[in-house]
């Protein structure tokens, strides 16, 4: 308990960022290696924490507690459980890979490496903190801390419409999070004694009407982040314009913050309201799934297609959450992890292609399967994982989600399965347009994926395959916590 390992995980990137800041601007290789080393250390720390993590325990673990703003009873309270730990692990992993990806093929503008890696590491601190904070105030701080580096990372190193995308991302998320802040304050004042600590707040009953209102406030914050259907328009822009490693982080980690928020805060704090909002969430989830799928189908921009597929896949997470039963929750949490690995991989692959061809227009490609067999294989692998091929991780989570949602609503489940068909359609259509058919003579000069890129992708593939074959690897860590959450929600564990 006294090892402070979680604090180290949170603040190690910050130390790395400070180190980067102190390095001279011209020593770009120092800066790069420093950043890579930092992410590696964080990953190592996370693995170490994994060894200490007791998967069979339901409550919070490795708690660290210190008074921070005593006037407001704000604590520095971090801890982890079966919901947050997988996310922390995912963050460490994705950050490491994104950093590796940055080394290779980010178009770092002249002399701006220092800024890039500084912001990158700052971002990692924010993400880690978001997943580990158990004090609502602390959580909000970290949540916001994520926004700013992200704005710069998209805005400076992004594509042609980067400024628009960056500000759109920023404002959307800020709008949501401000409402969340109001919700947090409302919870604080409704609690007696006033506290932000999740550990104490969970135990307190809240008035039903109050729950509904505040749930809505939290919902706005989280829904925009996920993003849930009507709030999703920032996502394609941000994903498309962001540089590859940042897209990876965006898809791999940031989107999860929203659904994580539901599991960690909305549900335990407002169980009755959550049940009351269940149909609405379910409907939004299904709309997101189908809508995202259809729109992805119409894309000609590779990255945009992947971005919209995220909308669809995150819809499954939400569907699992809306199901509010054991299978739904497990599916949702697993889907969060899997979507991170799979879509992260897909974005990396888009980046690989873009670095070589400098275009992402799907109709412009064709026949790359023969020219770049290694790339073709890996792309096919990730696409298959994404469309939910059994044996790869995406299937298990979608299956569990659907199983859970089936217990809740047959119609929604049936509609959601349209999304599965659509996933197959847009992904295979993409493969067809990129890899299959006649080789466009324009691309005869393209080289196959190189080792560095393969090494970046390999860990993701390992996880996708391993979880696809034996999902209990990770589910074992989640189940006690999720069952505990269900007890709070009042639903019997079915």
């Amino acid at each position: 308990m006294s090892s402070h390992i979680l604090s180290w995980i949170i603040f190690a990137p910050l130390i790395g960022a400070a180190a980067v800041l102190l390095m001279p601007k011209s020593k770009t290789s120092w800066i790069r290696w420093c950043a890579l080393l930092t992410t590696l250390i964080v990953f190592g720390l996370t693995c170490y924490a994994l060894s200490m993590f007791q998967g069979s325990r339901a409550g919070f673990q490795m708690l660290e507690k210190a008074a921070w703003i005593p006037q407001f009873n704000v604590q520095y309270l971090v801890g982890t459980d079966g919901i947050s730990f997988p996310m922390v692990f995912l963050t460490a992993l994705i950050s490491l890979l994104a950093c590796m990806g940055s080394l290779a093929h980010i178009r770092v503008k002249e002399g701006r490496e220092k800024e890039y890696y500084f912001l990158f590491l700052l971002l990692e601190t924010g993400m880690m903190g978001t997943f580990l904070a158990l004090d609502l105030f602390l959580f909000y701080i970290f949540w916001e801390v994520v926004l700013v580096p992200m704005y710069f990372l998209i805005g400076i190193w992004g594509g042609p419409r980067r400024e628009y995308a960056a500000i759109k991302f920023f404002l959307y998320t800020l709008a949501g999070s401000l409402f969340m802040l109001l919700g947090i304050l409302a919870v604080y004042f409704a609690a007696s004694p006033h506290t932000f600590s999740m550990i104490d707040l969970v135990k307190m009953p809240r008035d039903f009407f109050f729950q509904k209102i505040v749930f809505l406030a939290f919902f706005l914050g989280f829904a925009i982040k996920v993003p849930i259907f009507p709030f999703h328009t920032w996502l394609p822009d941000a994903h498309v314009e962001a540089p590859t490693p940042i897209s990876v982080i965006l898809a791999g980690v940031l989107l999860k913050m929203g659904t994580y928020g539901f599991l960690r805060f909305s549900y335990p704090l407002f169980p009755e309201a959550a049940v009351w909002f269940q149909p609405a969430m379910g409907v939004l989830a299904v709309i997101g799934i189908v809508y995202g799928g259809f729109v992805a189908l119409a894309q000609t921009d590779f990255k945009k297609m992947v971005a919209y597929s995220s909308v669809s896949h995150m819809g499954f997470v939400l569907l699992g959450l809306a199901a509010m039963n054991a299978n739904g929750f497990r599916g949702a949490l697993l889907q969060m992890f899997n979507h991170g690995t799979i879509t992260g991989g897909l974005f990396l692959l888009v980046g690989v292609l873009y670095d070589r061809a400098h275009t992402r227009d799907l109709n412009d490609f064709g026949g790359l399967g023969a020219k770049m067999p290694g790339y073709a294989g890996i792309l096919t692998f990730f696409s298959l994982a994404s469309l939910g091929l059994p044996g790869l991780s995406g299937f298990i989570s979608e299956f569990l989600t659907l199983l859970g949602s089936y217990q809740y609503s047959k119609v929604m489940t049936a509609t959601a399965t349209i999304g599965i068909i659509l996933a197959a359609a847009y992904l295979l259509y993409m493969i067809q347009r990129v890899l299959l058919g006649q080789l466009n003579p324009k691309w005869t000069g393209l080289t196959d994926i190189n080792w560095q890129e393969v090494i970046t992708l390999a860990p993701l593939m390992v996880f996708i395959l391993a979880l696809g074959i034996y999902p209990n690897l990770i589910l074992d860590y989640m189940i006690p916590t999720l069952d505990g959450l269900l007890k709070i929600l009042g639903g019997a564990v079915r």
Partner: protein, 468 residues
């Protein structure tokens, strides 16, 4: 407390006055104005050293100088604000060229006036101190010679201010008539009786006009953008912080002591005004292209947020005002310091001067980004703590609509603050790399930056001291 007894608590103010007269005097004889400015800073430092926290509320000079913890906080506030402003003007070329000594002397008087406002406890002192403050402000705004804009700003400020003061005075006379006394507490007691309610509301409204003009509360904010644009930039920086803060101080005192008995209507009016202020400020700020004007609208919007704390009229509301003001003091002065630096280096007041700042002067740009983020209320910076407090105050008092409007406004605000961030970071550089910044501005920047960060990360240190 009689005059002689009072004097020992009055040392900082005496130092200020003596310093001011001394500065005016030696200005005649000394050619090197550095000495004068050094003397000014010395006076302020001495004064700061002698500021002591009173154990209980001290009714100095027959309670014409009411020194309590609240006033004490603003004593510090005023001295720091003036100190930083003077450091800023020290390297502001237009002022260096003319009547530098008088400028510093007037600022010492200004410090005194600010403290007077904070300690005023009856109608007479309120009127006198606010007028003192206003007169000095008019003069400082119009200080630059042969500056068409400065003169225009000064006359607009004067006309607007005088009318508002006259209206407030009329309200004061009515309040005096109803209660028969100039003491706020007596007035408050009188207004407790129902037949006086209409009159009390009228009087309160007139107070709101006279002081709302000081804090640039809509719809009495119209002077602010013009004056801010026209005034010398350090003066703009000062005006956007200190008179506004003291306006809030005295307005809070009046509301809490004089009109508390009115119950809900004052809160409602202030809520409406708060919403109006932040919305107008934010909406208008979006399209500004002049940096000073931009910051003027931003400061109007900020006033709207602070008004939230005033509107709830609770203990938490009071705390939120103090904290917000402190955060705002350092953040805004920091932002103005950068603005002055950029203006000095480029000779341009437009936002366009900021384009590509991150390449031309990375440190300055980073600092500006921090200040803007703080203004936008992004954690973990000082501005967030302030915003958090006002939101907390509003929610605690169940002013949900107000909080929601404020939240929406914050997003709009973030949009235009990020315009500058965008200019600095995402736009290619359009000029040469900056040479080293003047020392005084560097000092200000470092000081404000440290406070902005510290207040965001370790707010408890500040809260302890403010709220004790």
């Amino acid at each position: 407390m009689n005059t002689v007894e009072s004097l020992k608590y009055f040392i900082p103010e005496l130092i200020l006055l003596v310093g001011a007269f001394f500065v005016f005097t030696i200005d005649f004889f000394v050619k090197n104005k550095r000495i004068v400015s050094g003397l000014t800073l010395l006076t302020l430092t001495l004064s700061l050293c002698f500021v002591k926290q009173p154990e209980t509320a001290l009714p100095l000079f027959y309670d014409f100088f009411h020194l309590d913890n609240f006033a004490h906080f603003f004593r510090y506030f005023a001295l720091i604000a003036v100190f930083i402003t003077l450091l800023l003007s020290y390297s502001y070329t237009p002022i260096r060229n003319q009547y530098e000594g008088e400028f510093y002397g007037l600022f010492l008087f200004m410090a005194f006036a600010l403290i007077l406002v904070a300690t005023a406890n009856n109608l007479l002192m309120i009127f006198l101190s606010v007028e003192f403050l206003s007169l000095l402000s008019y003069l400082l705004v119009g200080f630059l010679k042969n500056d068409r804009k400065a003169k225009e700003a000064a006359i607009k400020y004067l006309l607007f201010g005088s009318v508002c003061s006259a209206i407030m005075l009329y309200g004061m006379s009515l309040a005096y008539g109803a209660s028969g006394s100039l003491e706020l507490s007596t007035i408050g007691n009188t207004f407790f009786f129902a037949p006086f309610k209409p009159l009390a509301l009228v009087a309160m409204l007139f107070f709101l006009v006279g002081l709302g003009f000081k804090i640039s509360m809509a719809p009495f904010h119209m002077w602010a953008p013009d004056v801010y644009e026209g005034a010398p930039t350090p003066v703009t920086a000062f005006l956007s912080v200190a008179p506004k803060a003291l306006g809030f101080a005295i307005l809070f005192r009046i509301m809490a002591v004089g009109f508390l008995s009115l119950g809900r209507p004052p809160s409602l009016i202030l809520t409406a005004l708060s919403m109006l202020t932040m919305t107008l400020g934010n909406i208008t700020a979006i399209s500004q292209n002049n940096m000073k004007r931009f910051l003027a609208y931003s400061s109007i919007a900020q006033a709207g947020y602070i008004l939230m704390g005033l509107a709830v009229l609770s203990k938490l509301g009071k705390e939120s005002i103090l904290i917000y003001l402190l955060a705002y003091l350092f953040t805004n002065l920091g932002a103005f310091a950068v603005a002055i630096l950029v203006e000095e280096k480029t000779g341009n007041e437009d936002l366009a001067a900021f384009s590509g700042l991150s390449q031309r002067s990375p440190v300055t740009a980073a600092m500006m980004a921090v200040f803007l983020l703080s203004l936008a209320g992004i954690p973990p910076l000082a501005g967030f703590i302030g915003k958090y407090y006002v939101f907390a105050a509003a929610l605690q008092a169940k002013f949900i609509m107000l909080a929601v409007i404020a939240a929406i406004n914050s997003v709009v605000a973030a949009y235009y603050y990020f315009r500058i961030v965008r200019l600095m970071y995402l736009t290619p550089a359009s000029g040469p790399v900056f040479s080293a910044a003047p020392k005084s501005i560097t000092v200000v920047l470092c000081l404000t930056l440290v406070v902005v960060l510290a207040m965001g990360i370790f707010p408890s240190f500040f809260l302890d001291r403010i709220l004790s």
